[in-house]
Symmetry: C2
Subunit: 253 residues, 2 copies
């Protein structure tokens, strides 16, 4: 059974998230049903590097599927793009992978971007792509606060109650906050993230941005390891999984 | 009757265009019905600097409305944003204008951006925001061809049959073509444009980009002044009205 890696873009808006659920359509289901056409009608399992939540988008998700037939990666990409229609899921690339490669466990880095639209008027063009915050944000203060969270820590304070990870220890490699006109953009990179970690970090940094909390607050929340002290969970629609890194870079066809 | 300028963002997807028509909802209708709430229930006329086509978006459209009451620009902006809900139309700013100011006739420049997604896979995140062209485009050749169209010319070859402008003479100040990763972005600036001019220019440049026509071709089409010789009209969803310029810059509240 040849194993294929898939590079994916999707709009999270119409989905219950990456993972199959009884409550509605998922990205996983769309891909698995498309892949069945390349697998003699049998529905294969498609696993992803990051199981994005409902409403969260991806520009560079990486997934994995084993198929009964040996096909060129170009053929896998084109056929999946045909069969995923009309869902907003696009296969940007495909590659044949060694048997011991895992989209999830071989990943050495994940990168996310969170976009905040920071203006009075609600979004028209970017509806469903941004978190709308009307109060003026001090992006420099948010960035300064974010730098206090870098490195390896127990991120229990920024973890969802439902998080299934065994350990709350994570190493945050990058957490940058930049203003681009009316937008405040947060970039986060780590080997892996806890459930809701990026959205909880963003919600907490926004409290610094509006001046409700001091720059030192996100770090003191981290140190207390108490989820009830952090800010709100930022809404999913501002979040995009921008890329997944592997020790051996994948050659996408 | 105080006259107000409005700075507008909208998603053109659900609309028949800027202008009111019997065939469906228009941006003008949404704004006029919202403005009636600020005008004692009487529906005022809202006019725009550029009457965008169905599916064309705006980040910086400028419109004009006269209201019976004297209101602060902040109040006009906030009230219109309330009453235009849930349509994807946002009022980014408002300003009180002198009686002789016209959103359309006082404008000294219009700027548009056209986005082409140039890759095999169809758009997922940018569906309705880009023209999807699968064949690889040579953006440098398109840019070189575009430079031959700058300046004042008879643009009859790039004008829609339905164009109502008295003269086909226009002065094209800027027509830049740039590749940004998988995107080819065209930026166009002029005092004013003919109907479909930007979309016809883009459709013609794409024929150069795919290598079907030489770099010199868009200019020879221009010189022959024959619409039937130019390329196809590019689809509306890639086009955004990014801004309108006035001799006296407007101070938006």
């Amino acid at each position: 059974m040849p194993s294929y890696a898939l590079l994916l873009e999707y709009d999270g808006t119409p989905f219950v998230g990456w993972q199959r659920q009884d409550t509605g359509p998922s990205v996983q289901q769309v891909l698995e049903e498309a892949a069945a056409h390349l697998n003699g009608g049998e529905t294969p399992v498609v696993t992803a590097a990051g199981r994005t939540d409902a409403g969260v988008h991806a520009e560079g998700q990486v997934a994995q599927v084993a198929l009964s037939a040996t096909l060129t990666p170009e053929r896998v990409r084109e056929a999946l793009n045909f069969h995923t229609r009309p869902h907003p899921v696009a296969v940007l690339g495909a590659a044949v992978m060694p048997e011991d490669w895992s989209a999830r466990f071989s990943a050495t880095g994940r990168a996310y971007r969170f976009r905040i639209l920071n203006r009075r008027a609600r979004p028209a063009l970017d509806l469903g792509r941004v978190w709308h915050v009307q109060r003026r944000l001090d992006a420099a203060a948010m960035h300064a606060a974010a730098q206090g969270l870098l490195g390896q820590h127990d991120f229990s304070a920024y973890r969802a109650a439902a998080c299934q990870a065994k350990s709350p220890l994570r190493t945050l490699d990058r957490l940058d906050v930049t203003r681009l006109g009316d937008e405040v953009v947060i970039t986060a990179e780590a080997r892996s993230f806890l459930h809701h970690q990026v959205r909880n970090l963003v919600g907490t940094l926004v409290e610094v941005g509006i001046g409700k909390r001091p720059v030192s607050w996100p770090r003191s929340v981290l140190d207390e390891q108490d989820r009830t002290r952090a800010g709100q969970t930022a809404p999913p629609e501002g979040l995009v999984l921008t890329g997944v890194r592997y020790a051996d870079a994948i050659e996408w066809a």
